[in-house]
């Protein structure tokens, strides 16, 4: 969702309740989702950034940590301008509050879409600079010197001429009484003077993650808490018909059986008792209207719908006419499957519902959305719903949804006391909200030299935004569904891209790491490769010829291919494939080198990734995201496939919904382009880039084009 707002923050300051300086920051956003109107108090004296009398800085983290490193990168932005060491910054999970903690790019308090750095790049540095300016002014005032002759370093204000120094902690109370400087009067540091931004600062969240101390949502324990195991109707929309409550209750440790609309929960002293209780309950289901839905029906429905024109996402020139007049025409259909998220931490939520209040302990990407939905379910006011956010054992978009939290609340409404609802892995896979199945039709026309003169792309699939944030689903166009398709980085003279919304019956769809680009970059970068092949040209040379207007894209393509040794000979059965993208305000190019064996099996040996994400906040985190994001996308390309039979998801655990393992993991290299541009998003970009680089490499190795994911290795078998 592109957002071109100037994201300068509005800053206010004040004194903390316990003494010290508070900097409150709020960021301008274009609109608020419906639930935000009721958001909590607009002034909280302990909000956002506090500096106490010991000089310790507390940053209330608006974004949540799910492995992406935001608990290090955002404090780096603040610490750089405030002139403190990153080790002097303490972090607190933010409570739900869209007024204080909205993500400026997403319009509400949400961590997703690779937006944290982009959203907070300017406001958090401004907040740090305001703090520094105030503390220097306070010290200068005390010494009777010009603030311009002072500077600060590592939490201390220095006056070099006299050698005097005052630590921040001794200045905060006086600083809190000063008027807040206008943002225009506060000078941000020149990037060449950065001492923290651009360094691979150590992560703040990791020490407790190697010794078992880190607390994820599933680790929460509150006094007198029970544990609940759940069974949700195997068919979407079904409901429990009957169950053997007496048998379930006879299991030692089982306390209570709870029935809600679409599920049964067994509440027990511990998970094993709850699981045994579920088995003993022998639940019978009323399957409801979706009991006959199969994957083939959904695909057939998409195929049919995609024959008719959709809502136009981009139209330039006259693609139809140019296609008719082209020297050569290429047509292709691409398909991508439903995908589950399968975060390592299965879905869970601990809830305590009382007459007048409700507490939730959960790792969520969307605290205010959760709060609003829980208020609706319980009939309680928003401020009676407390969300105690926890570390997330993987998000990947799954925890942008509050379905699991609402389900837990519905169960907890019938339980006297707190209850931790834990999903089995089977429930987690079979009742995910899935990356939509997409069905894409493309056509291109080439002139006699092989250059594209026409490009059409029709995306068909579910609209997540129509459900999730209807305000931005305008005129039937889902910008996420066409992101990466509407604006390929190449010079294309006549372009027509449209979108057909098709909702699969009963199957809930949701965002998945890499969102729109993870689907569209595969399609676009595969199809460009097809055009290069049709033009009998090298895929890299072909792309370069279309990038005259796009120097940053050209540079990452050149860097990746140079480092990968593009063009150097390879043994038989091996191939290299390339991809290039601009997504999340980041340029990225990957080269995959792989081997296809006689039986069609694939071994990916090496992946080289070149990145221009603007100013790199923490280069080591970027490398980590390249490594991890790429493997997340590679898992999907090789294995990811959720299918339906008789209304039921056929997969259930890691044996039939596999994840790549260490023995299959290729070596991944990251090369950063030095850039002075504003930072781009990064947590998702590599996930989008890898699939086309893999299938293009398969084409290079075998001459076979993969247009449907996951890759069917049977089709790659040698036919000798």
């Amino acid at each position: 969702m592109p957002d071109r707002l100037d994201r300068r923050g509005f800053l206010t300051i004040g004194a903390a309740l316990s003494g010290g300086l508070v900097i409150k920051l709020s960021v301008p956003i274009a609109f608020r989702p419906p639930w935000a109107a009721e958001a909590g108090p607009s002034f909280n004296p302990n909000a956002f950034i506090r500096i106490d009398r010991e000089g310790l800085v507390t940053l209330v983290m608006p974004m949540v940590e799910m492995g992406q490193g935001t608990y290090t990168a955002l404090p780096m932005l603040l610490a750089e301008e405030l002139e403190v060491g990153i080790d002097e910054v303490r972090l607190e999970h933010a409570p739900p509050n869209d007024v204080l903690y909205a993500n400026p790019m997403l319009h509400f308090q949400a961590t997703g879409m690779s937006s944290s750095i982009r959203g907070f790049w300017t406001p958090l540095r401004q907040a740090g600079a305001v703090g520094r300016t105030l503390l220097i002014a306070t010290a200068a005032n005390r010494w009777g010197v010009d603030p311009g002759t002072c500077r600060s370093q590592k939490g201390v204000v220095l006056h070099s001429a006299s050698g005097r120094r005052l630590p921040y902690g001794e200045l905060v109370d006086a600083a809190a009484k000063l008027p807040v400087p206008t943002t225009d009067s506060v000078v941000l540091k020149d990037p060449k003077d950065f001492t923290l931004i651009g360094t691979s600062a150590k992560r703040l969240d990791t020490p407790d993650k190697v010794n078992g101390r880190a607390q994820f949502g599933i680790d929460v324990r509150v006094p007198d808490m029970k544990i609940a195991a759940i069974a949700i109707s195997p068919v979407f929309g079904g409901r429990p018909k009957s169950l053997n409550e007496a048998a379930a209750k006879a299991v030692k440790g089982v306390c209570q059986i709870v029935r809600i609309e679409n599920a049964v929960a067994v509440v027990a002293d511990h998970m094993w008792a709850a699981k045994k209780g579920l088995i003993a309950a022998a639940i019978q289901w009323d399957d409801g209207p979706h009991a006959t839905v199969n994957s083939s029906d959904i695909i057939g429905q998409l195929e049919e719908a995609s024959k008719k024109p959709g809502v136009v996402a981009r139209n330039e020139g006259d693609a139809k006419k140019a296609l008719a007049g082209a020297a050569q025409r290429i047509d292709a259909i691409y398909q991508m499957p439903f995908l589950a998220h399968a975060a390592m931490e299965p879905m869970n939520c601990t809830v305590h519902v009382r007459r007048d209040a409700c507490d939730l302990w959960v790792g969520t990407q969307v605290p205010t959305r959760t709060q609003s939905l829980v208020a609706e379910v319980t009939g309680l006011p928003m401020d009676a719903i407390k969300i105690h956010n926890q570390l997330l054992g993987g998000g990947f978009g799954r925890r942008l949804e509050a379905d699991g939290n609402v389900l837990a609340v519905r169960i907890a409404q019938q339980v006297d006391g707190p209850v931790k609802v834990v999903w089995s892995r089977e429930e987690d896979i079979r009742h995910d909200m899935y990356r939509p199945y997409y069905y894409d039709r493309l056509s291109a026309g080439l002139d006699a030299s092989g250059k594209p003169v026409a490009w059409t792309h029709r995306v068909s699939g579910s609209s997540i935004y129509a459900r999730y944030l209807p305000q931005i689903f305008t005129n039937g166009l889902d910008h996420d569904a066409v992101e990466g398709a509407a604006e390929p980085p190449y010079e294309l003279p006549n372009v027509h891209v449209d979108y057909v919304r098709v909702e699969p019956p009963g199957v809930p769809t949701a965002f998945w790491r890499g969102v729109g680009p993870t689907h569209n970059i595969f399609v676009v970068e595969s199809f460009v490769d097809e055009l290069a092949a049709a033009a009998k040209q090298d895929p890299v040379a072909y792309r370069k010829a279309l990038l005259g207007h796009n120097p940053r894209a050209l540079q990452v393509l050149e860097l990746a291919t140079e480092k990968a040794g593009w063009g150097q000979p390879l043994p038989a059965g091996r191939g290299r494939g390339v991809s290039l993208q601009f997504a999340f305000d980041t340029y990225l190019s990957q080269v995959v080198e792989l081997e296809v064996a006689f039986d069609g099996s694939i071994r990916v040996h090496r992946i080289v990734c070149a990145v221009d994400c603007g100013i790199a906040i923490n280069p080591d985190t970027i490398a980590a995201q390249v490594e991890g994001g790429t493997l997340f996308g590679l898992t999907a390309a090789l294995y990811g496939n959720i299918t339906l039979k008789n209304g039921r998801v056929e997969q259930s655990n890691f044996h039939d919904y596999p994840s790549i393992r260490i023995s299959e993991a290729p070596h991944i290299e990251t090369y950063l382009v030095r850039s002075a541009a504003s930072p781009g998003g990064f947590g998702e970009a590599p996930t989008a880039a890898v699939a086309p680089a893999v299938t293009n490499a398969i084409f290079a190795a075998t001459g076979k084009r993969t247009r449907t994911l996951p890759i069917d290795t049977v089709l790659l078998r040698s036919t000798t």
Partner: protein, 154 residues
């Protein structure tokens, strides 16, 4: 029925059925939540602990099978030279992303180093392929095991 098990050197008596997996005894009965639940059927390795030094998937290890054997979990593995070196290497190389699987990864790696102080890449593949990391930290896990093995040599 009551079982007495020795976890990280301390004896605990718990009253559960004999088929109760060690995982849920640790997490829900004893409140030791460093050992993670990931799949429940020994496919992901998140719940790995040591039983008499052997890496075991605690989600499929019934409490009734433990007897007098010593259980070691992530909470105490740092007291062993292998565990300590691995935890340090994990931090030195910034292995961790979300961190959820890392308890199991470190437990598997510690058992590997105990038996094979200088593992090859093939040894690492064999010992660590049962541990899934959805964040994809494998490259760094491999490097960190080699680094920890190096530290142990010094």
């Amino acid at each position: 029925m009551a079982f007495t098990i020795k976890v990280n050197g301390t004896a605990h008596t718990v009253d559960v059925d004999a088929d109760t997996p060690l995982l849920w005894v640790l997490r829900d009965v004893l409140g030791m939540c460093g050992t993670k639940f990931g799949c429940g059927i020994a496919l992901c390795g998140a719940c790995t602990v040591h039983v008499d030094g052997m890496p075991m998937r605690s989600c499929v290890t019934p409490i009734g099978s433990i007897g007098n054997k010593a259980v070691t979990t992530i909470e105490a593995v740092g007291k062993t030279p292998e565990g300590k070196a691995l935890q340090q290497a994990w931090l030195d190389l910034e292995v961790v992303q979300c961190g959820y699987c890392q308890s199991g990864q470190i437990m598997s790696a510690a058992a590997l180093l105990t038996n094979t102080p200088k593992p090859t890449d093939t040894d690492i593949d064999a010992a660590m392929s049962g541990n899934i990391c959805r964040c994809g930290t494998y490259q760094r896990i491999r490097a960190a095991i080699h680094r920890a093995a190096g530290m142990r040599e010094e």
